[in-house]
Amino acid sequence: MTRDDSTTPALISRRRVLAGGALAGVAAFLAACGGTKPLATAAPTDAPATSAPTAAAASASAAPTATAAPAATPSAELNWANWTYYMDVDPNDTNKHPTLDKFTAKYGTKVNYSEIIDDNETFFGTIQPALQGGADTGWDIITMTDWMAAKLIRLGWVEQLNTANMPNFTANLIDTYKGVNWDPAGDHHAPWQSGMTGLGFDPAKTGQLDSLTSLFTADPRWIGKVDFLSEMRDAVGLTMLKLGLDPANPTRATCDQAVAELMKAKTAKIIRAFKGNAYAEDLKSGNVVLVMAWSGDMVQVLTDKPGMKFVVAKEGGMLWTDNNMIPKGAVHKGTAEMLIDWYYQPAIAAEVEAYVNYICPCKGAAEVLKATNPDVANNPLIFPPADILARLHIFGGLSEADETYFNQQFATVTGKG
């Protein structure tokens, strides 16, 4: 096989089986296609042209040289588990992802890119047995939200990134993302896309709003027509901000205060339901007029219903990020680092951003888009201006015991605990 960090070669076949099974239904199966000239602007540690194997010959020719520098030779394939609609697609063929195709063309590898994650916990459930047993999960890159990333790192189930081989990542990661308390050195995770959590509302029904207090006020204009997010960190985080507490340093005491506040809003019948993305449909159909909302969804809602509004409240908003990580025991670690780094080239990041409409963690992408796609570049929901960025908070990491406590307390409000 490849020279990648396969400390457990016996598990390779198992990995294949697992990956094959997981991919069967949904895989975007990308063969390396020639012809496209790769963007070479700030390319990392190029493999020498001669040693870049074709996808077909890779498994045979890439076998030797354990002495080579870790990222010198890409492996024959790479398995990436991501969320849905999280990658640019070719307008003519939705199975093609141009930025990925450029990567495969440049390095002669094959990326099995699967958008199979739609819930952190459910996906965690699928990889947890392998990680617990010290086996390879079948994935080389997994994309998980901050708190789940924190949990995986805390459990020791994430490989350390060899940042020396990731020049773009080191140079272009926006500073806001650095120094989180669950990965202080920043060498276990690389932010992929972010979103803001704020207020979404229909100004025609509610008037202009700019304060989180409105979520907790029994105003006849919106009582019973308010959706809260079912994601604990967003609902509790915004409530903490409303109370003037710091969600970046959550404690059991502040959790209790926030839960009590949520309970009051529920008892006062202000809250209609706790929802995931479904709040967007509720808002569009008029079932609710005020919601806790994610910026990415609201880009879509605003396209369909331009009258709606999204604001980051004056008390602040939450910033959450989905992060690329290499799970422990991944077979193609070196190539995974190359791919993660690939997306920290401003031109590549810009291309992704123009499609996915979330917040980009890569410096310089906005400048690229100003020329190519000014609508995206000037959209404050995708490239929030500095004054909004300054009001955003990242929910702090929790110990396992605290996480259980927070989830239990929150479940008492949602009626599930």
Partner: protein, 339 residues
């Protein structure tokens, strides 16, 4: 081959039983035992779990915290079962006795919703019941309905959703039971002066309708006197016209096995259902399935989740045993044999 099977008569039954038994062993018994074991665990995902019988407190704690939610699940599943019965019985009866050449088409129409995914059907209810939907607009025109009245994210929506989802599970067994009834028995009853039983039918309808409506009224905190009276009057009217003595004495008793099977097929999955409560409900209408799901996936509290699941399973078994006792399993198997 033939002689072999004749000489060893045990081969055929064993061969026929093996796949089913293996299937149940692997996919039912093993997980059930695993669940029972993990309900006696303590610990967490990170520290690891340890087994001890001292952890029976998982059960007492879970029961203490979630008894009201069990109660709510039983109430919703029970209400849905009664509603499916009230809708399915006339439906099955009519198809069986009056369906004529449309019988197969009508049966197909009952099963037709199954051609769409369960989840999609439930999601589409959110459109049907949304605050601005035609249904709601009509309801809002009725006198006495307040402007903030809504259906979506209420107990009514959850129970209606469950009723809709499991309606075919009630209709089909009842249909099978009614369809097998020898109509000559009904004719014989009429020959023996079983006539249209208007006062009796009205009384039966009055009691059933009134009782049902008041239970619903209490559950939804409506004015239960008014709803009770309305239900009783409606029931009496229906009973006056539709319940005959031959139905009460012949047809219905003969269809009881179908009702029994149908209500089990409805009640058991309904009590564990969490999709309807998740999509159509609100924080005050969660069922035990939602709690178990949250415990397993969000809180990673496998012991509590297992204890809750096991109690649900045990509880359903007890309910079924009592139910079978009341309706009489002997009569059930006897009438099944007659079919």
């Amino acid at each position: 081959m033939g002689t072999l099977l004749k000489r060893h008569r045990w081969i055929a039954p064993v061969a026929l039983l093996t796949p089913g038994v293996l299937w149940l062993l692997v996919f039912y018994l093993y997980p059930a035992i695993q669940m029972l074991l993990s309900s006696f665990w303590s610990g967490s995902l990170e520290t690891g779990f340890t087994f001890s019988f001292d952890n029976y407190t998982n059960y007492t704690k879970a029961l203490a915290s979630y008894a009201p939610i069990y109660g709510r699940s039983i109430m919703y599943a029970g209400a849905a079962t009664v509603l499916t019965f009230l809708i399915a019985y006339p439906l099955a009866y009519t198809i069986a006795f009056r369906g004529g050449r449309f019988k197969n088409l009508l049966l197909f129409l009952i099963v037709a919703p199954f051609f769409t995914s369960f989840l999609l059907r439930t999601m589409s209810w959110t459109i049907l019941l949304s605050d601005d939907s035609p249904i709601l607009r009509v309801i809002h025109m009725l006198p006495g309905v307040t402007p903030d009245f809504r259906l979506l994210q209420t107990p009514i929506a959850v129970i209606s959703g469950i009723t809709y989802a499991f309606l075919p599970f009630m209709t089909l067994p009842v249909y099978v039971a009614v369809e097998k009834i020898d109509f000559r028995l009904v004719e014989a009853a009429r020959d023996l002066y079983a006539g249209p039983w208007r006062p009796g039918g009205a009384i039966v309808g009055f009691i059933v309708g009134g009782g049902l409506a008041s239970v619903l009224g209490i559950a939804f905190q409506w004015d239960f006197v008014i709803t009770g009276i309305a239900g009783a009057v409606t029931g009496a009217a229906i009973g006056w016209f539709f319940i005959s003595e031959s139905f009460v004495r012949v047809t219905f008793p003969l269809s009881v096995p179908g009702v029994f099977a149908g209500s089990l097929l409805t009640f058991i999955p309904a009590i564990g259902d969490y999709v309807n409560a998740e999509i159509l409900g609100n924080p005050d209408t969660t069922m035990i399935g939602n709690v178990i799901q949250n415990k397993f996936l969000t809180q990673n509290d496998y012991p509590a989740a297992s204890a809750l699941s096991f109690m649900l399973m045990a509880g359903v078994l007890v309910v079924v045993a009592i139910y079978a006792r009341i309706l009489g399993t002997e009569e059930l198997s006897a009438s099944a044999g007659r079919m």
